[in-house]
């Protein structure tokens, strides 16, 4: 599931293990944040570890859901259902400009 946009400033990966309610919550939360604040500048990939277990090693995933901010660097991981939106925003370092 990739939002096709050229020259992404933001590359995000959401690791889940099956589409559990927690995973769906996390996905909805990050989608909301992306559409509101990063429209046109992000790529979001969802990786289901039940389908590709070997990928867990790639980003050293131990907890799910984990959102990995690949870009901008440095790499960051946000663990959990991402329900604390302000904390997620702070973690991703998204500046909230005037709406």
């Amino acid at each position: 599931m990739i939002a096709e946009q050229p020259d992404h400033k933001w590359i995000l990966r959401l690791y889940v293990a099956g589409l559990t309610p927690t995973a769906e919550r996390a996905l909805a939360n990050i989608k909301t944040i992306c559409t509101q604040h990063l429209e046109g500048q992000y790529a979001l990939q969802v990786i289901d570890l039940l389908e590709s277990p070997a990928l867990a090693e790639l980003d050293q995933i131990f907890a799910v859901p984990t959102l990995v901010r690949q870009l901008p660097s440095p790499l960051r991981k946000i663990v959990g259902d991402l329900s604390d939106i302000p904390k997620v925003m702070a973690g991703l370092d998204i500046k909230t400009g005037p709406q």
Partner: protein, 479 residues
């Protein structure tokens, strides 16, 4: 006829155990760690947790055909492989043969922020993947507790860790989990609450500049176990726990006799010499002939076509052989036939436990039927600590359990009577022979008598020990 010693005859009940293959550990645990359960090994930094954990997997793969998965939350696989080379563990080879897999969970990979509900399913998926890949029967988690410092000590995480251990149990693997020693609890984050089947505590302390490692079994559900603190060493071949006691082994007491190598001394011991598998002490001042009696015993073993291992702590092997040649005892002959190994050592008191371990390794390798320690006094003077005596008790137990006859000499200080000064070890020995010097006219004569000899009607006489180039003999004292 062999009589079973009732003290150690109680068999362990049948909770299934996974042998560790680690010297001494299987003995004190009554056969190993609980099979298909998780064991917690905790201790401070540098206590040897990781070595013990890795050795558990290596020996499991090599000796018990149980492949092992090592999940490292700290060290990288390459540094583990390098660190274990010096122990003679070729981890690379085991990894190539798919008998070992090291999986690195790098908790420091990227900054981690926790926001809301999560599960450890990511970790479970990686464990599952690793277990399947090599068909692992043993799993190590080293040190998983670090996850608390990354995700925070929350109810969510604790519930997930409980789930992980249930999952491991369902996978029917024997797990070893390491934990960092906490200030008040056994582990920093109270890991012991999840792992209640078996808990081992390692301790590394420095006393009087001497490094000491100890291992204690804090609990072992469903199994009796050794309760002491056991000396534990990280040596050239990995970990050894130094009880090496007879806890598991049913001591057999033998009626069989072995010759002292001196016919007249055999006569004093009810005509037949020492009991096989017992401990013999010969004490006396310098120059009374202790080493000569030890050498006679070693030569007699050779004559019976039995192997003897002789630890010489004061003389070199060549010097001892030369001196004994002058008494008509040809030690070289037995050495050439492989029936006698003369091991000259100088006890450095700093490494006493290492020394004892080295001796035990040699005994294990050579499988002698007789062992001589000449003299043992050098060890005893190394410390009046009760633990030295405890260590010798363990050595004696170890030899007895293997029916090896132990012969030790002890040097008596100048003015002391030879039969009054060895209280440190005399209670541990079965047969005690004392040597003394008596001045008769212008001549000093060696006297020999049996202080005690358990289980036999020994002579109460004092005889003269005569040494000539024809060998050793005893004579009645002139009135």
């Amino acid at each position: 006829m062999e009589i079973s010693n009732p003290k150690v005859g109680t068999p362990f009940p049948t909770i299934e155990k996974a042998s560790t293959g680690i010297a001494g550990l299987d003995e004190i645990t009554g056969g190993g760690l609980p099979a298909r359960r998780a064991t917690l090994v905790c201790g401070g930094p540098g206590c040897g947790k990781t070595v013990l954990a890795m050795e558990f997997l290596v020996r499991g793969a090599q000796q018990f055909d149980e492949p092992g998965l090592f999940v490292s939350f700290e060290e990288k696989p390459q540094s583990l492989v390098e660190n274990f080379g010096p122990f003679g563990f070729d981890l690379d080879a085991l990894i190539r043969e798919k008998r070992l897999k090291i999986s690195h969970i790098d908790l420091s990979h990227g900054e981690v922020i926790e926001t809301g509900d999560f599960t450890l399913t990511g970790l479970l998926i990686r464990l599952e993947h690793g277990i399947k890949e090599i068909g692992a029967k043993r799993v190590v988690l080293d040190t998983m507790e670090n996850i608390f410092s990354v995700l925070g000590n929350t109810e969510n995480l604790r519930a997930e860790i409980a789930r992980l251990f249930h999952w491991l149990r369902d996978k029917r693997v024997t797990a070893l989990v390491t934990g960092e020693r906490g200030k008040e609890e056994l582990t920093r984050y109270g890991f012991e609450e999840y792992l209640s089947d078996c808990v081992l505590l390692l301790d590394h302390r420095i006393t009087d500049q001497i490094s000491k490692r100890r291992l204690r079994i804090v609990k072992y559900r469903g199994s009796p176990h050794g309760k002491d603190e056991y000396p534990f060493l990280v040596g050239e071949t990995g970990v050894s726990v130094l009880p090496l006691t007879s806890l598991l082994l049913d001591h057999k007491v033998s009626d069989e006799r072995v010759s002292t190598g001196i016919a007249a001394l055999d006569d004093m011991l009810a005509g037949q010499g020492y009991f096989r598998g017992t401990t013999v002490l010969v004490s006396g001042k310098a120059g009374t002939g202790k080493s000569s009696i030890a050498a006679a015993f070693a030569a007699a073993a050779g004559a019976r076509n039995e192997r003897c291992l002789y630890f010489a702590f004061e003389e070199s092997a060549a010097q001892l052989a030369r001196n004994m040649r002058s008494l008509g005892l040809d030690l070289d002959k037995w050495a050439k036939q492989g029936l006698l190994t003369l091991q000259a050592m100088r006890p450095t008191f700093l490494g006493l436990e290492e020394h004892l371990l080295g001796m035990i390794h040699l005994i294990d390798a050579l499988k002698p039927s007789c062992v001589v320690i000449d003299p043992i006094t050098n060890f005893l003077s190394a410390g009046d600590q009760p633990e030295i005596k405890a260590m010798f008790m363990r050595l004696i137990d170890y030899l007895k359990s293997r029916k090896i006859t132990l012969f030790v000499t002890a040097l008596t200080a100048g003015s002391d009577r030879p039969d009054e000064t060895e209280e440190k070890i005399s209670s541990l020995v079965d047969t005690w022979i004392a040597l003394d010097l008596e001045v008769v006219g212008h001549e000093r004569r060696r006297q020999i008598y049996v202080v005690k000899s358990r289980g036999m009607a020994h002579s109460r006489a004092t005889r003269e020990l005569v040494m000539s180039d024809h060998g050793l003999s005893l004579q009645g004292l002139e009135p």
